[in-house]
């Protein structure tokens, strides 16, 4: 049976891993390659490296770091941040990334999804969506959660799916950093409506939260950062726990 995936996310700024609480107050959490390797050895199923400042400052992504990651890491990894056009994708895939995650650029110009799918295949195209629920309405945000849009989460996710996205990485800004669990209601609606895998992001604080993202949120994978970076949850113990809860995981 296909396993549910556990994905540590490494937010990168100036070549270092950082993780914000509710997208602000950045704290250092280590060297990206050493950390990625350690996670891989503990049983992480994939890694996500996000250049979190790239989109905001408009600078190009971190190709050199990607090449070094590809040399050292023997599990799949996704890179994102500041990808605006097909040439950026080509550059990162050539450097050895398995998938790219696009966010703001896709919201601004949805055709980018079609282009990536056509040139490189859907499997490399992860569409990341940062969304916040206000008065029962889930709105998508641009630029790492800094700019609100009129776009509805579910509507956008379905469009991304239709255009050829390979996966949706959904981050609930209401839940991110507060460690009270994932946005399971929204997640399950996404997972049930889309025909592609959904990665849950934002809100992991305990092992039970991961279980709930899979059982209640119907997520195909769950992503977290600080609980792993600061050693609050070990990946191996998390997977052993999930296995006890009858969730298929790779151990």
């Amino acid at each position: 049976m296909l396993a549910k995936r556990i994905i540590p996310c490494l937010d990168i700024k100036d070549g270092q891993t950082v993780k914000g609480v509710n997208f602000v107050n950045l704290q250092q959490a280590g060297d990206p390659i050493a950390l990625g390797k350690a996670y891989s050895e503990q049983g992480a199923d994939e890694l996500v490296y996000l250049d979190i400042t790239a989109s905001h400052e408009g600078r190009k992504t971190f190709t050199q770091l990607v090449s070094r990651i590809a040399e050292e890491i023997n599990i799949p990894f996704t890179v994102g941040g500041g990808i605006n056009e097909l040439a950026d994708v080509d550059c990162l895939l050539s450097a050895g990334a398995d998938k790219v995650s696009i966010n703001s650029a896709a919201l601004r110009r949805p055709e980018l999804i079609d282009e990536i799918a056509r040139h490189f295949g859907s499997q490399v195209c992860v569409v990341a969506i940062d969304a916040k629920e206000t008065d029962g309405q889930w709105r998508c945000y641009l630029n790492g959660g800094r700019v609100e849009t009129e776009r509805d989460l579910f509507d956008w996710a379905l469009e991304a799916n239709r255009r050829g996205a390979g996966e949706i990485l959904f981050t609930s800004m209401n839940h991110d950093g507060v460690k009270q669990g994932f946005a399971n209601t929204a997640l399950s609606r996404l997972a049930d409506e889309l025909t592609i895998p959904v990665i849950a992001s934002g809100g992991a604080g305990s092992m039970e939260h991961f279980r709930d993202a899979f059982t209640q949120g119907h997520a195909d994978a769950a992503l977290a950062a600080s609980v792993f970076h600061f050693g609050e949850i070990g990946i191996r113990e998390l997977k052993e726990y999930l296995k006890q809860q009858n969730i298929t995981v790779r151990l």
Partner: protein, 196 residues
Amino acid sequence: MQVAIVKYNAGNIRSVLNALHRCGVEAVLTDDVETLMSADKVIFPGQGEARTTMTYLRQHRLDEVILGLRQPVLGICIGMQLLCRHSEEEDTDCLGVFDVDVVKFRPTRHEDKVPQMGWNTIGDLKSDLFKGLSKEEFVYFVHSFYAPLCDDTIATTNYVQPYSSALHRDNFYATQFHPEKSGAVGERIIRNFLEM
């Protein structure tokens, strides 16, 4: 040991070079006939679509070169599918080493998504390629098309239904999954191939 990787228009070939490097082998990425023919091992990897990759192979006469190889060859992912007889993807005639036709997953349950993306187990292992592995190991898959079970099946995976996750005939070995992305298990499989 000389290991050559077939250079063609498929994606994700660098990850195989990197994986071999981690195993202590510096492989060459080449479409040069002499280099491919004289290598001790040849790897035919990649991600891509059947028709465009097959057309490229024919145009560059690499189809004949691959079929003429006598040393151990390892096909990976689209490389495996191209070694089969035919692919339903764009109704493409392939190289025909393995006597099986590649078809698309047709799931009946919503939770079985296409492509299959992620870690699944390989079982019913019947080759030295899997020497040293325990009964059921997880490996990494990304694919929408699959080879059904057949006489050449050396590993079975269950997704939608049981299918061939690895094939073997004569000097040709092939995996649907990506050993180069399958952690320690994948590294063991690559080392096993290098020892063939």
